[in-house]
Amino acid sequence: MQLSTPSGMSRRHFMRHLAAGAATLPALDFIAHVQANAAELKKRNKSCILMWMSGGPPTIDIWDLKPGSKNGGEFQPIATKGDLQISEHMPKTAMVMDNLSVVRAMSTREADHGRGRYYMHTAYVPNPTVIHPAFGSVVSYELGTKRKDLEIPAFVSIGGGGSSPGFMGMSHAPFLVDNSGSIRNASMGDLGEDRLHQRLNMLGVVEDNFINSQRGESGQAHKDIYQKAVNLMTSKQMAAFKVNDEKKEILDMYSPAPAAPGAMGGMGGGNQFGKSLLMARRLVEAGVPFVEVDFGGWDLHANVFQTLKTQRLPALDAGIAGLTADLKQRGMLEDTVLVWMGEFARTPRINQDVGRDHWAASWSVMIGGGGLKGGVAVGETDKDGTSVSSSKSYQPGDIWATVAHALGIPLDTVHTSKRGRPMKIANGGTAIPELIG
């Protein structure tokens, strides 16, 4: 696979740097120095958690309410700890909004589920001749490969449908898990290590024969994936998936109050989202640089307000608030970027079934943590929510550029497609000044 070396600090550069320092230090001091640095580096591991709202959430009812408009719907805005108002059905999140911001001027063209999912994940519109990597795969490539201690995949997707690693290759594909904490088929049963070794050696013989047969890259990709699978099977870091080991009071932070019984029903409702976010936090703690958490059920062509009020928003509210507070109490929020988005949002106009249809022209994405400025509303929509009224509108590339900035990935990084075409990170988007300030 052709991939250009990113312009960030390379491993070789890093080693040279350390070696130069070694000359001025006595040996023992040097080792202590390196270990201290390693611990510090590990602590400063930057990560991103993407909360993916599959189906397209009505952001007009969540982050950018329009009271008094015919499109306003049933909900009222409330004040928050940040410098912006959000939905009355997000009261817990309101209390942590000083850490989170909302980009209210998204305008993204793609209002078909598949195309919107692709565009928002990759920052590129679908193109028949190249498959662009989801940003999680980009982060896996940029940061995951540098974390030599990381034995589990660098891009984990919890409960999601998965996205393509594109020209980054299968090694950077999302590792799909559900939030039960059990990884299917990860145990070799009672097969001893010797036998596994023997099997893998024999496998190597057959695999290499195929790899050397001029049949393209898929043979090598298969071998790489097997290496990753073996690492995973034998790693202690697998404990990060065991979300059920977590204390109940921590899980409760992520859960809607039991007093809202309606919140327990519905697709993926109840505590499922909270549990997934808790697993995401555990994975980030273990050093995973990109975790995507899927929360679906937003394709609300009918009965939007009732569904939001009783099912989607209680779980969403508790999940976001719990995750933010939990990361903060662990001192991890500064290093963990949180992004909340769907493939698009929903029509300001309320349809005849009291639903909202697909809408990409004017909507909101939430972003926070990772050292980004919280409590800010970036851009605005007009009084009916039907168009962006601020001078600038934003594309997914701008969101991902902001994330890249927060993760310390240089924005002049360029990757190369298999066809040799240069591809700017985040499609050349700009980190949003109001957030990185």
Binding site: H113, P128, G162, Q198, M202, F210, I225, A302, H358
Partner: protein
């Protein structure tokens, strides 16, 4: 046409297998000085070969050699039957000296009940998805396709049945296609989008809300198509269960409901517009005596190369080659020109002339020179790399990942489960469906999209390494294939060869044989070595890819 001299084939070059103890000779395919043939003679195949060769010349690539018999047999079994050939089938083919054996195998496979099953699987997945939607009968859909492919019904009739279907979802399985598109009360939007995309290769879904961005399709066109579906109604029946004392879901059916006149839709500027049932400029009477879906079905098959033929040709080509003439294969719109437009046109016309004969279409493709080439690339066709986004020139065949169904059915062959007859069709179909479901996730969106994690990622690797299917395959239970091989006649070398033939359809290379023997020599438990070897073969890239 000037024939490039490099197209002269060398069988030897493509045979990397070590055959010193081979009890059979490599099959010799009948070809003249430099003309390849599978043994079939058909002017249509000659024309395909000619047009594909012209594109090679125009693009300055030289084709790879013809695939050896082992490579080709595995591919054609996977593509037509959906599973790898068994050890016996490999041996029989390899030992045959018949010059027309390739074309005869194609005919044989097309008469095999597994051909029917394979294409039933493919089209059931395309029509209703891998995860059965609510109020849809997978068994009904499968039954419809089993009959359709079993009788080799004309594709035009099959599509017509699907589009016009009415009635009970098990009695008339064809209704399940439309039922699957009626998950939401959306005025037939999904039905319109799916029907045009799947059967006509027209992606009109984005014109639901606005004019097409890349061609001159207008928003009205979507609603004109849509108006053909507006007489479609669905009834979900329920019945009383005396055991539980509750009402439960019973069957669903599609019924005709009264609808006449135009449909209304909203332009982007908020103006309401009307659309009447019009297909490619042909308007049908919008009155209430018209059966609109019947009229649509008639219009869809009108002409010398209607879209339904173009679309099926493109799809079938892609089934065998991994790439069609357009990318994506279900977008034949004017903004997305085909790579081999004349060939696509030609095949579509011939497909129509053949009476929409699906088996004949497969015969043309599978007997073509391009399909018989090796998947090994050469320096002189390096540029022919569609995986990197280049135009597919078919100067060598392309490596395709097995589908989950192909893998499952291939592992069944390797474990011998198909012979022990331990369960009936229904039972085995149920087990297969359960196994398949572990890879499928739905996005829960109105277009019923789903993704399949059976795509070469870690969960698939873990399933192959530690999952039940492969564990069964390497067990030496009585009646298992591995057990049979080990208990059977032959020395160590022959047993190793047979395991290679079972899993990979070829002989081991010399280094491979050497490695296996070395392990056996130093092993305290030779049985474990055979098990681990078979495990390695089934887990290999060579096994999981169709190449």
């Amino acid at each position: 046409m000037v024939r490039p001299c490099q197209t002269r084939r060398s069988m030897a070059a493509s045979c990397g297998a070590w055959c010193s103890v081979a009890v059979f000779a490599l099959g010799v395919v009948a070809f003249g000085a430099d003309t390849f043939t599978t043994g079939s003679s058909d002017v249509i195949i000659t024309e395909i070969d000619k047009q594909i060769r012209e594109a090679w010349t125009d693009n300055d690539v030289v084709p790879s050699p013809v695939a050896d018999d082992h490579e080709w047999l595995r591919r054609v079994y996977l593509d037509i039957l959906g599973r790898v050939p068994s050890l016996e089938e490999v041996e029989e083919f390899a030992t045959s000296k018949d010059k027309a054996k390739r074309t005869k195998v194609i005919d044989k496979l097309l008469d095999d009940p597994l051909y029917v099953r394979n294409f039933t699987t493919v089209w059931t997945n395309l029509c209703i998805g891998q995860q059965t939607p609510r109020r849809v009968s997978r068994a009904g859909m499968q039954k419809f396709f089993r009959e359709a492919f079993g009788k080799n019904r004309p594709w035009s009739d099959i599509v017509s049945d699907l589009v016009t279907a009415e009635g009970h979802y098990e009695e008339n399985g064809a209704v399940n296609f439309l039922l699957a598109q009626m998950q939401d009360q959306d005025d037939g939007v999904q039905m319109t989008a799916k029907t045009t995309r799947l059967f006509l290769g027209m992606q009109v879904q984005c014109t639901q809300c606005h004019n097409h961005p890349f061609n001159d399709w207008k928003q009205d066109q979507f609603w004109q198509y849509n108006s053909f579906f507006r007489q479609t109604g669905k009834v979900d029946h329920r019945k009383f269960n005396p055991k539980t004392g509750r009402m439960e879901d019973d069957y669903s059916e599609i019924v005709e409901r009264g609808f006449s006149g135009p449909v209304y839709f909203e332009k982007r500027n908020g103006l309401m517009q009307v659309a009447y049932p019009i297909y490619e400029g042909q308007e049908v009477d919008p009155g209430d005596s018209t059966d609109r879906r019947k009229e649509l079905a008639k219009l869809m098959v009108t002409g010398e190369k209607p879209m339904i033929a173009m679309s099926m040709v493109n799809r079938t080509w892609a089934h065998f080659f991994g790439y069609g003439f357009t990318r994506p294969i279900d977008d034949l719109g004017p903004h997305n020109p085909a790579t081999h437009p004349a060939l696509l046109d030609f095949l579509a016309r011939e497909f129509v002339k053949s009476g929409y004969d699906c088996k004949q279409l497969i015969r043309w493709i599978a007997n073509s020179e391009a399909y018989n080439l090796t998947s090994r690339g050469t320096k002189k066709n390096e540029r022919d790399n569609p995986a990197a986004g280049e135009t597919a020139l078919f100067s060598h065949t392309y490596v395709k990942p097995m589908t989950a169904e192909q893998l499952y059915d291939s592992l069944i062959v390797a474990t011998n489960a198909h012979k022990s007859g331990r369960s009936g069709w229904e039972q085995s179909e149920k087990q297969r469906q359960e196994w398949l479901q572990q890879f499928v996730r739905t996005f829960g969106t109105d277009d019923g999209e789903e993704s399949n994690s059976f795509d070469g990622t870690i969960p698939q690797a873990l399933m192959m390494m530690n999952g039940e299917l492969v564990r069964d395959a390497v067990s030496v239970k009585a009646g298992s294939h591995l057990g049979d091989v080990l208990a059977g006649k032959g020395n160590e070398m022959q047993k190793i060869q047979r395991l290679y033939m079972t899993a990979l359809g070829r002989q081991p290379t010399r280094p491979e044989m050497g490695a296996a023997q070395k392990y056996l020599k130093s092993a305290r438990d030779p049985l474990a070595v055979y098990q681990d070897l078979f495990w390695a073969l089934l887990n290999s890239n060579e096994f999981i890819f169709n190449h």
